[in-house]
């Protein structure tokens, strides 16, 4: 086996952990081949794997992020326009904080500083949708081609979505107070010790915030994995049905969950025969849009712009779902 393959299996997919959990489950008298034993194995292994990977990844990524506070991103993007500026905004969105709760202050800060809506929305779409931690988790649970394809299409939605919103000429569809907000630049430089402390705090804060979602997600995943017959899943979400992608997207939009919580559900669904595009559409809908974030956004943009944003993002997700279902043979 190649070195890369071995590293991938042991570090990323954590084969050793799976083996360890399997033998521990057998040791307490449960047969991993049975439904109950299998559920317990899936639950314990997935929970441990996600928490381990998450902690390591958030630490590493937060360290990188400490070099790109929103103030710096805004300076980098300031005065630019055109497709390259949208691409740059989408890329910078991948290395900024995970939480969708920070997107409203960022929206106000960018718009008040005079950045065009096209750039701001490219950034806002990519920020929750694509981040480095979720990419590596996707590679761990599925494979590298799927993870890279996810990043590519996520960035495409962000770039195209931002561009379309910019073309719509809705610069005036922003809540009035946004334009009059002062622009401040309290950007302090950090020492290495401060960056390490920041990264450590991020791990504590994010794990603290997402652990219930992960437990629920893995729990649902374990149920799907061992108790729901593949025929049911295929009949509902198989790639033969034209309505499975819209169904998955509509269910996903109002839900609020972290991508880390949806991954185990996605994993179980795909192994049970759900279409890959359907499952990706579900994950994107859950992470890119949620009822709380829509309500927050409503306070800073006027209704036509909000509707346009929802339509553009939903349309992008639907398109990607259908495309991936058609291209599934390339990935699985």
């Amino acid at each position: 086996m190649s070195l890369f393959g071995w590293l991938n299996d042991q570090l990323l997919r954590m084969q050793w952990l799976s083996d360890l959990v399997t033998s521990s489950v057998s040791a307490v008298g449960l047969d991993p081949a049975t439904r109950l034993g299998g559920s317990v194995q899936f639950f314990v292994y997935d929970v441990l794997k996600i928490f381990l990977l998450l902690s390591v990844l958030i630490f590493a990524i937060s360290y990188v992020q400490s070099f790109f506070p929103p103030e710096r991103t805004r300076r980098i993007l300031g005065g630019r326009s055109g497709l390259w500026a949208n691409t740059l905004a989408a890329l910078l969105g991948t290395i900024t904080p995970f939480c969708s709760c920070s997107s409203i202050p960022i929206f106000i800060g960018f718009t008040a500083a005079g950045l065009p809506l096209a750039i701001t929305f490219s950034f806002l779409i990519s920020s929750p949708l694509v981040d480095l931690a979720s990419v590596i988790l996707l590679a761990s649970i599925f494979s590298w081609p799927i993870a890279l394809a996810y990043v590519a299409v996520g960035l495409v939605i962000a770039v195209v979505g931002g561009t379309l919103i910019g073309r719509a000429g809705m610069e005036d569809q922003v809540a009035d107070f946004v334009r009059t907000t002062p622009v401040s630049d309290t950007d302090q430089s950090m020492t290495r010790a401060e960056r390490l402390a920041f990264a450590r705090d991020q791990v504590t804060e994010i794990v603290h915030r997402v652990w219930p979602y992960i437990l629920i997600g893995v729990g649902i995943g374990a149920v799907i994995h061992n108790w729901i017959p593949a025929t049911t899943i295929t009949a509902l979400l198989g790639q033969g049905n034209w309505w499975s992608v819209p169904l998955a997207t509509l269910i996903g939009i109002p839900m609020y969950a972290d991508i880390f919580g949806t991954l185990p559900i996605a994993e179980a669904l795909v192994t049970k025969g759900a279409g890959l595009g359907t499952v990706l559409a579900f994950m994107m809908a859950v992470t890119a849009l949620s009822l709380p974030s829509i309500i927050m956004l409503r306070r800073v943009v006027k209704t036509p712009l909000l509707v346009l944003f929802l339509v553009v993002v939903t349309g992008g997700i639907l398109g990607i779902g259908v495309l991936f279902n058609a291209l599934t043979p390339l990935f699985l």
């Binding site: 929103p70 202050p105 800060g109 107070f177 002062p182």
Partner: protein, 75 residues
């Protein structure tokens, strides 16, 4: 003087509030600590990451938990 802590109630904001209190006490200043949790009001100060520290309506720090000593210098 009025010291405002901007942030939607995270642990960092609580720490920053405590540090500000300590700083004001050791500087011997009479300070009222106000917590601002509404996102629109927070953003109105122009910051993009929380927690933020506002002293007499002037934003002095964002996205960082300052120590009591650091705050004391700003008072």
């Amino acid at each position: 003087m009025i010291i405002k802590i901007l942030g939607s109630g995270c642990k960092k904001c609580l720490t920053l509030g405590t540090n500000a209190q300590t700083a004001a006490r050791s500087a011997g200043k009479q300070a009222e600590i106000v917590k601002v949790t509404d996102i629109a009001q927070i953003a109105a100060y122009g910051l993009m990451s929380t927690p933020g520290l506002v002293i007499d309506e002037k934003l002095v720090s964002a996205g960082k938990v300052l120590s009591a000593q650091e705050i004391e210098k700003l008072l």
